[in-house]
Amino acid sequence: MIARRTVLAGGAASAAALGLAACGSDSSKGSGTDGKGKTLTLWIMEGTNPSTDAYIADLKKKFKEATQADLTVEVQPWDGAHDKFVNVMGGDSAPDVAEVGTTWTPEFADAGGLDPIGDELEEAGLSGKYVKALKESATLEGEVFGAPWYAGVRSILANKDLLSAAGVDKQPGNWQELLDAAQALKKKDPSTIPFPISGGSPFGLLPFIWGAGGEIAKQSGDTWKAAIADSPAVEGVTWYTDIALKHKLSTPAASTWKETDALAAFQKGDVGMFITGSWVPATIKEKSPELYDKLMAFTIPAKDSEVAPSFLGGSHLCRFTGTKEPELAFELIKLMTTGEFAANWAKQTNFFPGEQSALDEVVTSGDDLTAVFAKQMTEGGKSVPVTPLWGQVEGKKTIPNLLNTVLTGGKDAATACQDAAKEMDQIFDD
């Protein structure tokens, strides 16, 4: 981590110097028209926005108007994206600006692939304009390495028909009420899966660890220490997995489900309620409108309250250290993460915008479902430990492994949590 600074300092400084030298005389005129004849490359991820092409066309036009520079947009599939970033970072083939998944930002920043933009955000008066938890996930050792673009959060989505048949109609105020609701569903119709516990999805588990007052890991000074074996976290893991093991409100098949599998089962009408992302209702609306009308959403409750912290994930727009046009790159980030372009992107993708004012507007103008997810996001939005090492914990599948082990009866929750903690500490200490 010490080495990072030297690289960043070297890379960023020389890049900035180049940029400044290249447009010195123009920029003294003050306006944003210093990009004539220059081309920036932007990478965005495939599949987030069904109308990507129209958005890109607008963006190119607007960017040209604002800076006179041209924009090349390359759309990258999510699959294999991590490898691709790793390969190009620091080289000529790297983009100037790219969409980077929030959990990758610290890792790439630490490796020296990203260029800090904190000072420029401050100057442009944007520092306080983004959703806090999202900006935090781009902040490493006091430096900001990306601007929040869009995000999503997980809450509970339910089938109104099944719920009302079982007499369930209100937001569970705590764990017990959630359990009661699921048990009522089971009692009414034993063939439904009241509340599947997807073993392949760590994002379903986290709200229960956090909701019990636990943490995955804690920071002390420069280092991180696993907290997943501490008693509140173990309580959360135990309670969550007991839904399947003790109360039999899930199904054995779910122990290897990912979020997509739970969604498929829900679409078939087999599932009462499940934990899923805020972008899902729109997907359901498009694919099966009749099911959309039956949707109902709840915030994931904490042990004793309505809203548990839930993982807030999404994308940052980051400037890469290889860029020769740092100023133009920042202009592009600013254009995309604020105002019209931020709001449009969020609207087209059914994600929440990373800009707080745009988010507020979505919440006030949105429907009931949106309001529930937005509540979970604003009151409970939380990020995983912001450390470059978190990527390794994710890559090692520590949390899915923990869930899978407990759900298949391999180990009890406390032992499995201890193993997971040991694994994380090995990564943190390395």
């Binding site: 080495a3 990072r4 690289v7 991590h82 490898d83 790793v86 970072m89 620091g90 890792e107 790439f108 630490d110 490796a111 020296g112 692939g113 899966i193 073993g199 392949g200 199904t251 054995p252 098949a253 779910a254 122990s255 290897t256 489900w257 990912k258 089962a265 078939k268 087999d270 990527g391 390794q392 994710e394 890559g395 090692k396 599948k397 899915p400 492994n401 869930l403 899978n404 298949t408 990564i427």
Partner: protein, 316 residues
């Protein structure tokens, strides 16, 4: 008996240097394009993998071009890990052995069967087999996962209908044997068309006269297979066997995409997945490379044994 000019003609006189060179040159000229391509694009990167396996190599090393040699530490870590000996290695070797045997068997039986068919039926069947080969591995894997879905899949439905299984009571993905059984079905499904088509092509090059002669000598079908087909086709069988072994040891996509196969269920990990999760998943490129080298070494040993036992000196 006359010999072709290209193969060594018996000669009493010691040939001159130029003549020797003239004779040694043609095979190397023929080989040159292949060797250059393979050397530059596979051998050299492979040497770099070996070099990486001796280093502590993370994302930041890659970005800065730094080197930090730790010599055998990666290997030491792997070889002293119980995970390797109890889980990964048995999974890899057992699975590959079953898949190779099953693929060869199914492929050969299908090829022999196709060879007995009339031309139109043979074309229909080989085309169908090609369809199996043409389904992308990714899609094929998803289809098998889907068919075997324990909650609502086709197989669970049939088993329930037959009264052999109560719905929603088991999840076979969590069982190491069932997991690999389904993976084997998938891998064999993808692998047998290659074996069948290659062996069929081989069967077609066996001169019919040899069979006729055997028939005249009173040999039955099995005899003809053992005394004509097998010896003539031995090099082709050997190649199919060696290549299937190499591919089945390296199976990655098909395992990684199955439920729990991405590392979240550690008991079903194989060498390929382990190497990948270390390297691409966690950014331990040196460690991932060391596992890859280990896999290569294992394959090398097996191939040498194969070559020794399967091929006579003049076959190689």
């Amino acid at each position: 008996m006359s010999t072709a000019p290209s193969t060594a003609a018996p000669s009493v006189r010691r040939p001159s240097r130029a003549a020797r060179l003239r004779r040694a040159l043609p095979p190397w000229l023929l080989l040159a394009p292949a060797l250059i391509t393979l050397g530059v694009l596979l051998l050299w990167p492979m040497i770099r993998v070996a070099d990486l396996s001796l280093q502590k190599f993370r994302l930041r090393h890659l970005l800065r071009g730094e080197r930090e040699y730790i010599v055998l530490e990666n290997y030491q870590k792997i070889l002293t890990d119980d995970h390797l000996w109890l889980t990964v290695l048995p999974n890899t070797i057992g699975f590959a052995a079953v898949c190779v045997a099953a693929t060869m068997l199914v492929g050969t039986v299908v090829a022999l069967f196709l060879n007995t068919l009339s031309t139109p039926w043979r074309i229909i069947c080989t085309t169908a087999i090609m369809v199996a080969w043409a389904v992308p591995a990714l899609t094929g894997t998803y289809i098998f996962v889907w068919l075997f879905d324990p909650h609502s899949g086709f197989v669970a439905g049939v088993l329930e209908w037959l009264g052999l299984l109560e719905a929603d009571t088991v999840n076979w993905w969590n069982n190491r044997w069932a997991f690999y059984g389904i993976a084997a079905l998938n891998v064999v499904y993808h692998g047998f068309p290659f074996i069948a088509v290659t062996i069929l092509a081989g069967l077609m090059t066996v001169p019919k006269e040899l069979y006729e002669a055997a028939r005249v000598d009173g040999a039955g079908a099995w005899r003809r297979f053992a005394s004509v087909t097998v010896p003539t086709m031995r090099p082709i069988f050997a190649v199919c066997l060696i290549l299937s072994t190499i591919w089945d040891f390296k199976v990655f996509t098909q395992i990684y995409l199955m439920p729990g196969g991405d590392g979240s269920n550690r008991s079903v990990m194989n060498l390929g997945v382990w190497s990948y999760t270390e390297a691409a998943g966690q950014g331990h490129y040196g460690m991932g490379a060391a596992i890859a080298v280990l896999l290569t070494a294992l394959l090398l040993v097996i191939s040498v044994v194969y070559l020794r036992t399967l091929l006579k000196e003049d076959d190689l």
